[in-house]
Amino acid sequence: MRSAHALGTALAVCCIGFEAISAEAEEPSVATLMENVKHLAERVEEMERSRAEDQRRIRELEEQLETDRYADEADEASVVEAEATDSESGAAIGQGNLLNPAITAFLDMGGSWSGDKDNKARNRFTLREAELDFRAAVAPRADGVLVIAIGEEIKDPFGDVETDWEFEVEEGYLDVHTLPWDLALKAGKFRASFGRNNLLHTHDLAQVTRPLAVQAFLGPEGLATVGASLSWLVPNPWDRYVELAAQVVNADGGSESPILIGPGADNPAVLSHLKLFQDVGDTGSLELGTSFLYSRASGGRDDGYTVGADVTYMWRDPAAADFRSLLFQGELFWSNSDFDNGNSDDYWGGYVFGQYQFAQNWYAGIRYDYTDFPDLEVRRQTGSDWAISPYVTWYLFEALRLRLEYQHLDRDHVDRNDTEDAILLGLTFYIGAHPPHPYWVNR
C-alpha cells in the first residue's frame, strides 16, 4: 500500500515538474533548466530512498507476519491434533481413539523367604498386583480416574495352598479438581484421606510392605471405599498451605478396614484430614497432618472413632538434587470403641521410617513398626506386633525398580509369642503413559 502511494506521489510530482518546465519553456534560461533538473534529481533520489525504506519495512512486516502466523497456528493446534492430521493412521484408527485416556499398567511382583516355614504365603513368589490406571478429562475442570487391580490371593497358607486371582476396582472416581472458593470435589471409590501412607497404591510404597499399623487399622491394602470428598485450601493470614478435607464414605462392607466396624455398621462413616505444609530452607519441607474418622454402631459395639497424626520431612541436596535426598515419615493411629456393655477399649499403632538417597538411583532406609489390633475378631486373641525392616531400593531405570528388604517381626500375642525373620523382594515396573508423579513422595 505504502509503495503504491509513494509511486502515485512520484508521478504527481513528475507531472508538476514537467508542467513547470513547459510553462517556463517560453523563456528557458539554462540556469532555470539546470535548477529544475537538479530539483528533479533530488526528488527522484529522495523517492528512491523512501522506496527502499518502504520495501525494507514491507519485508520486515512480511517476516513478522510469517512468524506470527506460525506462532498463532502452533498456539491453537495442539500437537496431538497435528499428529492426527499428518498420519494416515489417524483416519484408520478413528479420531475417537485419540481421546482415549492415558493408560498405565503397573506390575508389582514380590517374593519372600521366612523363618516361619509353616506359613507358605511367606515362602514363595507372588504377583502381588497388576494394576491398570486410566485417566482423562471428563469435562473442563473434571477428570475421571479408574484404577483396576488384579492381585494374587493365597488361601490357606498353613495348609494346602490355593491361589486365586482377585479382581478389584481399587479406585474409580470423578475428580472435580478446580472449583470456586479453592474447593475440590471427589465422588466414587477413592483411597481415603487418612494419613499419608493410605493415599499410596501398593506400587508407590517406599518399602516392600505396607506399615503394620496401616494394615491393622485401615485394612491390608489400606482404606478405600465409595463416597464423596470435599477438600478446601483454607485461606490464612500467614499464606501457608492449609488443606482441610471432609469425606463421607460407606462404613459397611466393601472394605477390610476394622475401624469402619464392618458389615453391620450404619452408613456413613465420616472422615476428615487437615494438612499443613511448610518449606524449610531452599530444598527442605515439612508436612504435618491430622486425621479423624468416626463410624457408627453395629451389633455389640457402639460408636468408634480413630485419630491419626502424620509428619513428613523431605530434603534434597541443593547442589545435587537428583543424587542426594532424605525422607523421614511417621504416623500414629489411635482408635477407641465403646461397647454396649459400657466397656471402652482403645488401641494404638504407628510407624516411622527414614530413607537416604546415596546415589542417583539408590535409596537405603529403615522402618520401625508397632501396632495393636483394633479388629474386634482378632483382638480377643492377639496383643501387639512390632517389626524393624531395613531396605535398599534400586531404580534400574525410571520405570523399573528393584527392592530388597529384611524384616524382623516380634509377636506378643496371647496364643503366640515368637519372632520371625524374613527376606522380602520387590520388583515393580510400569508400561504405557508416564504415570502422574506421586504427589510429594520421593520417586
Partner: protein
C-alpha cells in the same frame, strides 16, 4: 513513520504515566516453571510484572518434586509460564492442585512457551519406545537454548501479558521487539566469536544441547548417557573415551544436574576436559539473564577449547574429520 512510531510510544508513556499512581500496585503476577522463562518474562514485563520461578536453576527440569508451597505461589498468579510439551511431567498434577481455572490448559493464564517453536529430534513412530530411554514424545524440550527461540518465547510472553494487561500492550510489544533486536545482535556476535570452534565435535552428557550446538555450529560426536536419562556403565564410558581419542574430540559438555564425576572420568580417560555449561538461567553463579547464559556458555567453550589445544598434542577438534 519513525515519527509516528515515537509519537505512539510517547503517547503510550504519557498514558502509562497518567494512570501510574492508581495502578502502581496492579502488576501482573507471573509464576514460571524455570528461571530462564522467569528472566524472559522479566525482560518483556519490566516493572509491570512480578515474576517467580518454581524451579531453581541447577535442578533437572524433568525431576522437580512439586510441593504444596508451589500451589500457594500458583494460587496468586495471573499467568503461569511453562515449557509445555512433556518437558515437565510434574506440572499437570500441580495445576490440578492449584484450583485456579485461569491457569488450566486452555485458560487465559496458561502460557505454553513452546508455541511456535520449531522442535528438533521429533521422534518417528518407531522411536516412541522406552527402549530408547527417557524419550520426549513431541521432540527435544531444551528449545530455549537457541537464543533465536528466545525471540519466539518473548513474543508468546508479550501476547500473554497483553491478554491480562491490555493497557500496556504497546509497551510489551515494544519490549518483545527490543528483545528480538538484542538477541539477533547477540547471536550474530557470538556465532562470530565461536568461529574458531565452527564444525568442531563435542560430547554432551545429556541430550540437552541439540539446539545450542546447532545454533553455534558445533557437532555432537556422542552422549555420555548411552540413552537419554540412563546412567552410563563402565564399558560405555571406556568405549566412549576410546572413540573420543580416536576422533580427536576432547570437550565433554555437562549440565549442572548431571553426574559431574562421571563426566570427569570420561574426560580423564579421553585426555579431554569437561565444560560445565549453564542449561538454565541461574544454573551457575553469575548467569542471571538469558543473554548472560549464552555469553557464559560460548565463553566457557572457547576457553576450554583454547586450553585443551594449548595443553595437548591432539589435533584441534575443529579441524578433525571422521
Amino acid at each position: 513513520m519513525n515519527e509516528s512510531r515515537s509519537c505512539r510510544r510517547m503517547l503510550a508513556i504519557a498514558v502509562v504515566a497518567a494512570i501510574m499512581p492508581s495502578f502502581a500496585l496492579a502488576e501482573v503476577r507471573v509464576v514460571t516453571t524455570n528461571p530462564t522463562l522467569a528472566d524472559l518474562t522479566r525482560q518483556i514485563g519490566g516493572d509491570q510484572v512480578r515474576v517467580e520461578s518454581l524451579m531453581r536453576g541447577p535442578e533437572n527440569p524433568h525431576n522437580v518434586i512439586p510441593k504444596p508451597s508451589f500451589v500457594m505461589k500458583l494460587r496468586k498468579a495471573d499467568l503461569f509460564v511453562h515449557l509445555g510439551l512433556d518437558a515437565e511431567p510434574w506440572v499437570p498434577n500441580l495445576l490440578r492442585s492449584a484450583r485456579q481455572e485461569r491457569l488450566l490448559s486452555g485458560g487465559e493464564g496458561n502460557v505454553n512457551a513452546s508455541a511456535g517453536v520449531v522442535l528438533l529430534e521429533v521422534p518417528s513412530k518407531d522411536e516412541l519406545t522406552r527402549a530408547l530411554g527417557d524419550i520426549h514424545v513431541y521432540g527435544n524440550t531444551h528449545y530455549a537454548l537457541d537464543p533465536l527461540n528466545g525471540i519466539v518465547i518473548g513474543r508468546t510472553i508479550a501476547r500473554a501479558l497483553t491478554r491480562v494487561e491490555p493497557g500496556h500492550a504497546s509497551l510489551f510489544d515494544e519490549r518483545a521487539r527490543e528483545l528480538e533486536r538484542d538477541l539477533r545482535a547477540l547471536t550474530e556476535r557470538l556465532t562470530g566469536a565461536m568461529e574458531p570452534l565452527a564444525g568442531a565435535r563435542v560430547v554432551t552428557y545429556h541430550r540437552t544441547w541439540s539446539y545450542f550446538l546447532k545454533r553455534f555450529k558445533l557437532q555432537k560426536l556422542a552422549e555420555v548417557e548411552p540413552k537419554p536419562g540412563i546412567a552410563p556403565g563402565p564399558r560405555h564410558i571406556a568405549q566412549l573415551a576410546e572413540e573420543m581419542e580416536r576422533s580427536g574430540v576432547g570437550l565433554v559438555i555437562v549440565e549442572t544436574f548431571s553426574n559431574q564425576r562421571t563426566a570427569q572420568r570420561v574426560a580423564d580417560l579421553s585426555k579431554g576436559r569437561t565444560v560445565l555449561l549453564a542449561q538454565e538461567v541461574n544454573a551457575v553463579p553469575g548467569v542471571e539473564t538469558y543473554q548472560a547464559l549464552f555469553q557464559y556458555n560460548t565463553g566457557a567453550l572457547l576457553t576450554a577449547h583454547r586450553e585443551l589445544n594449548g595443553a595437548s598434542t591432539n589435533p584441534p577438534a575443529a579441524e578433525t574429520t571422521r
